[in-house]
């Protein structure tokens, strides 16, 4: 993850992200930081829920302490980046209401344009406009509108690859904040699926071993 300020200053964060899709509940996500080195081993575990607010735990390796943290702030910035927690968390269908806007060509690809409004009032957005390509239903672009209805951020998905012949995943996700001029680029690599991870790998008790 590269954080870039308006004047071009860059900061890099590296992390390992694992996810587990759940039946009857939102996904579970584990993020373990690798770089910068003073954060190495710090782990963030999220249980996302379709309707209630998420549960989150933070493991601090220097204290060997697992802390349950406030997950109420969905609109807050993830690690100082332009991504809010709600932008990177699992995109549960039930978290929005939808309206089909029309068809458009985006960068040479035929796309459906859909407007979605968050159900949860603690969301930082009034609405989002999503461009989804018509062939594979991959999101190409999302515009985020703030509570005043002004466009706040734009997320672009590029470098789509088909992993293990089944799942389409973006190689890069770049979020641009139009108000501050800052950008954050998430570059994904080494995707693996069906890794044998189970619920016990996503438990607050197991965070100390997440390294």
């Amino acid at each position: 993850m590269v954080l870039r300020t308006r004047d071009g200053r860059e900061r890099t964060r590296e992390m390992r992200v694992s996810g587990l899709a759940m039946n009857g509940d939102g996904d579970r996500t584990l993020i373990v930081f690798e770089n910068p080195r003073d954060l190495e081993g710090t782990a963030l575990l999220t249980f996302s829920h379709p309707e209630e607010s998420d549960d989150q735990w933070l493991y601090l390796p220097s204290l060997k302490r697992v802390k349950r943290i406030a997950a109420g702030n969905r609109a807050g910035s993830f690690m100082g980046s332009e991504f809010a927690y709600e932008d990177i968390g699992s995109q549960e269908v039930d978290k929005f209401t939808y309206r089909y806007v029309g068809d458009e060509t985006l960068d040479g690809e035929e796309a459906f344009v859909v407007e979605r409004r968050p159900v949860d009032s603690s969301s930082g957005y009034s609405r989002q406009t999503v461009w989804v390509d018509q062939e594979e239903y991959r999101p190409l672009r999302i515009d985020y509108y703030d509570k005043d209805g002004e466009v706040l951020k734009t997320l672009r998905f590029t470098g789509y690859r088909r992993i293990t012949g089944t799942y389409w995943r973006a190689g890069q996700m770049t979020m641009t904040n139009h108000k501050t001029g800052r950008t954050t680029t998430l570059t994904w690599s080494d995707y693996t699926f069906d890794t044998g991870l189970a619920e016990r790998n996503f438990s607050p008790n197991g965070l100390a071993r997440a390294r």
């Binding site: 910068p36 302490r65 349950r68 997950a71 016990r200």
Partner: protein
Amino acid sequence: MSTAVRVGLRACGVTALALALAAQGLLAQWRSEVVAEGRLFGPAYETALILDAEFQHSWDRGRQVLRVAPYVRWDPSGERNRIDFVELSWAHQWERWELRAGLWEVFWGVSESRHLVDVINQRDLVVGGQGYLKMGQPMLALATVQSWGTVELMLMPWFRERRFDGRAGQLWSPIPVDATQPVYESGAGNTRLDWAIRWSHRVGDWDFGLSHFSGTRREPGFLPGEDGSGRAVLVPYYDVVDQTGVDVQWTRGNWLWKLEAVTLNPTNGRYLAAAGGLEYAFADYISVFAEYLFDSRGDAATNSFADDLFVGARLMLQDGQLQGGAFVDRETWNSVLRLALTWRLGSSATLAVEAGAFLGDESLEPALASRQHDYLSLAVTRYF
């Protein structure tokens, strides 16, 4: 690395190349940091070079884990040197059970200001700046995770004494502490078999833990004595206690409510201590907390947490973290302030500055000489 080892073993004749590869792989599993530290503590000045390393290796499909974490501290003055293990343990995991043997560090509890429930490890106050470092506790532990909660059972065959060398020996009290002749309540001395059990569970927004410790108390009392040359000294006295503790956290939106309390029965009478309050997270990068600390021993408490307020704040920055807190005695208004800043230098180094100050009338709390010194420390850490 595991491939290199397997290839080497399968070939039976372990070649020098395979060994070299394995060694390189093993080396890559080490995480270490070197800290250069300078401190002003009351009238004393201290410097130290610290190596803090950690090695983890897992095999058997991740079911078995070996962890080694040495801690080496070198002080040019020759005092406060340490060669120790924070962790040296082996663990075997099954679906719902875990067995672990060796020595390691445990954290229990929820409060920010004071860790009452957290009693497994001895604390080293000499090298820990204004706080403390934990010393690895030798033990055998069995844990199980069930739908009704997590239960841990620990057997601790060997007690580790608190250190009073260097600064602490001189500044703890006007009379020096002689740690070479500790007195134990238990006839077995430091080899009494201590035990502890903890049940913890999560139900919705609630996290709670119930724990019991039975053994030699980590925090000593003091008895008057004489050293070899007939000088008056204080000797540490370790009594045997049964301590029952509870910790609860309720996480609701941006609010976190926390409480931990313990009751124990030392030689001089049962008492109750508690710490609790709330934390409010404005966003994930800034939170403030306020807690109240209670100790039923009142002024006779071995620390000044009898009737204190604690207020603090934590601010996460793009390149670091700033944390501040203040303990305020509700009766005397004596205060202990602390401010800590960690600043990132590139991706593999940090600079940490910590300052502490005592405000108020020292004569009101003579038992607390150690906390009444102003304090400043500077540390540069390089990660390898």
